[in-house]
Symmetry: C2
Subunit: 464 residues, 2 copies
């Protein structure tokens, strides 16, 4: 019998990264690892589902980074389709329910990792459970949507209509996927512009570009009801203004932390509903309980406040840090700056740091500058426009955020700003950054540098 | 008459950026600007010449950022084909020679900008001046090479052979250009591996990839002689070992600072032959003389020593800083970290910071780690391999350098490391960087983060 037992709740990115890293540091004699996963899948790329639906990626196997069997080969006692229904922190035990057999039992732990993920926001609308209405968070969701597309058929000449509810990352990616599947696509967006993670002026560029791709985006559209046809399948989506015919409806409204279990166990939950942790990813106030992935809140290093960001790359980092700490090593997750990249066909969208409204929310005064450039030297083949918006603190010129909308080769340039934000650079310091230059890769002034120069001018021009 | 006169020597990137920026800040009443350019071109992209030769870019007009006329419209008295032959610093005057008329004259200045650029290294080899042997530094060089290619002809079935001497940036870019022009290409490289700006282990990857593209690279090849045929044109290139048939020879051996004029005028020149300046780009010890572009040495922020780097992006920054200072504003150029990106067909090459030998040269002890990953999620279409090598200081883990060899979408990721170097980050800090993630743009662990993690392990494993 091992000296200690680690129990992991949730078998996706954060949980299984933690388990794997802990196993790397401690063998089975030292550490027994039991992991509970309520679904039939482990360690999969939810971010890849839109590309599976679009047909770009073979699924679902390609999206699974590590199968249950692979985890078990590493001496992790992984119990699939087994849901943890209660955490007894003081008693150091969790109650598990085997969803196949219906058996329920208590399992003790010395160390606990909570990685329960997030659940999609699912508005309580009439008709939301009708056949043909699909979320896209799990591999099961992806398969159900694909089956639904088959059910709609692809008879020649027949116009097939998809309505995507929500115009955030999942919404726009699913708009691309449905377009590639040959559907006429309408995106119903509650907000002022698509991509509410951008400022509206940059969201407008996304709107226009999506228009150019043949995707109709309706802003300010609040869905009130989903209507069904005589066959019981979805037939229309109603907003306050009108109805939109729909053979299939994709819900891409975002997610919220799945932290009920932790909350009921008395763990501290933050303003956004996520579990709060320290830098070592320990649940605050609990020496032997860690939490990571989509169920936690993270520190926004720019705003100095906690936020909830559901993103696989953070979940993997959390798992790595937790596994190191559980395994007797050390690691910290200092926080995020809020970087995200996405694309709709060849349109690339990126952001990091604060939007204008985020800056206002934390009481920062700021200036902005927006520039247009190209991702390659203007004369080089394939040079295409990209727009960069930069936000800096008034007076100090500290970088606060960057947003990019452009074509191929634009989005990942946001990483430069992500590092600069992490380092607390001013936009003036950024103007001197030694970024790679050659005509196939950049104009002689990299677009990020052009934006920094214009922002410096705005900081100086704004006085104090 | 203006209150002050600015004289600029050299009408390319640094000189004309300085002139333009000074003009933005001061009108003709305040500041007269006279600029001397000995060639027939201003403000052109020398970096674009390989793509003009390859046929990717229409030249030479597309490579000219601003014509003499455009500069003159901004009240800059630009004197083309006029060479400055002497600087009288104490007497505040320069002697100019009009190469058209042969007239020579003195012109006084209040402020002087020296932007004399660099000259290609041209080894003294028998036959180096034969028709068919070409440098590629100026637009004139590019046109001469293109004319030479026409002279070789393109008779069907005839094998046309190009020998490129040198395997640095210009060498590999010209290898691509000649390949695209239908030549059989041999690159003669004096060093151990191509791309001596990389460590040899990474240069080896470039060698193998060039091989795969059909470009023959001969390492350790010292050219001894260039032989000509009965028509007087180049026919063969001889090394110590053998000869290589050649219809055309391209010299891509690098450049050195064109600082003779400054040296003769008593300005301070550094160990690499470039003019030394302070952070404001003032020639050291001279209140009213500035220097920038390919004729100066710059501070390497990682090594803490001066180096010579001829690169348009630096020249533009220098010009911007000088123009601001001349015009009564302020600006500084803090230095470089040594970032460079390049490509050969779809192979991308990037580097920043120190190579192993650079670290040794400045007495730093270090560890390295090399990882292989892909630029997109492994399952996403177009995912292709990229290799990242990272160098960090022993014990402290301070990032010292990064080298990347990969396919489309690899090279510009080096910018993340460039910013991290500028900020003095450790590789451990880098593991937590919030870089953009989505399957079309990156695996869930960005390759730079994977390299950082492995380098952290190397730092820890190496002890002290």
């Amino acid at each position: 019998m091992a000296a200690e037992r680690l129990v992991v709740i949730g078998g996706d990115a954060a949980g299984m990264s933690a388990a794997s890293q802990a196993r790397r540091l401690k063998g089975p004699d030292e550490l027994e690892i039991i992991a509970f996963e309520r679904s039939a899948f482990t360690s999969y790329s939810a971010c890849g589902i839109p590309y599976w639906v679009s047909g770009d990626v073979e699924g679902p196997d390609d999206l699974i980074a590590r199968t249950p069997e692979e985890h078990r080969e590493r001496d992790i006692d992984l119990r699939m389709r087994t849901e943890v229904t209660e955490i007894d922190v003081a008693g150091r035990r969790v109650r598990a329910l085997d969803r196949e057999s219906g058996d329920a039992y208590w399992t003790g732990f010395d160390k606990l990792v909570i990685a329960t993920g997030a659940r999609p926001v699912r508005p309580e609308l009439p008709g939301i459970d009708a056949p043909g209405v699909h979320g896209v968070q799990t591999l099961g969701d992806g398969q159900a949507l694909l089956d639904s597309l088959d059910a709609v058929g692809s008879g020649s000449g027949k116009t097939r209509r998809a309505v995507v509810v929500g115009a955030g990352y999942i919404g726009v990616e699913m708009a691309e996927a449905m377009l590639k599947r040959g559907f006429e696509v309408t995106v119903l967006n509650r907000g002022e512009q698509p991509m509410a993670t951008l400022d509206p002026d940059m969201g407008k560029l996304v709107h226009d570009a999506m228009d150019g791709l043949g995707i109709t985006t309706v802003n300010g559209a609040s869905v009130t009801k989903i209507l069904t046809g005589p066959d019981g399948r979805v037939s229309e989506v109603a907003t306050e203004e009108r109805t939109y015919p729909a053979d299939v409806v994709v819900l891409g409204i975002g997610v919220e932390p799945e932290a009920e279990l932790a909350r009921e166990a008395g763990l501290t939950v933050g303003p956004h509903g996520g579990i709060l942790t320290d830098l070592a990813m320990r649940a605050v106030g609990h020496e032997n309980v860690w939490a990571g992935g989509d169920c936690v809140e993270v520190l926004d290093l720019v705003a100095g406040r906690s936020r909830h960001i559901a993103l696989g790359t953070h979940a993997n980092k959390h798992g790595q840090v937790i596994g190191s700490n559980v395994g007797g090593g050390y690691g910290t997750f200092p926080g995020v700056v809020g970087t995200a990249v996405s694309k709709v066909c060849d349109l690339e969208i990126a952001r990091t740091g604060l939007r204008e409204k985020d800056a206002r929310a934390v009481g920062l005064r700021y200036v902005t500058a927006t520039i247009e450039s190209t991702q390659r030297a203007g004369y080089y083949p394939g040079a295409k426009p990209m727009t960069v918006k930069m936000i800096a603190e008034l007076r100090t010129g500290r970088l606060l955020g960057v947003q990019i909308v452009g074509r191929e080769g634009s989005a990942k340039r946001v990483d430069v700003a992500a590092v600069a934000l992490t380092a607390g650079m001013t936009v003036e310091q950024m103007t001197a950054l030694d970024l790679g230059y050659a005509p196939p890769f950049s104009p002689v002034w990299d677009p990020v540098l052009v934006a920094a120069r214009k922002t410096v001018a705005a900081v100086r021009g704004a006085g104090s």
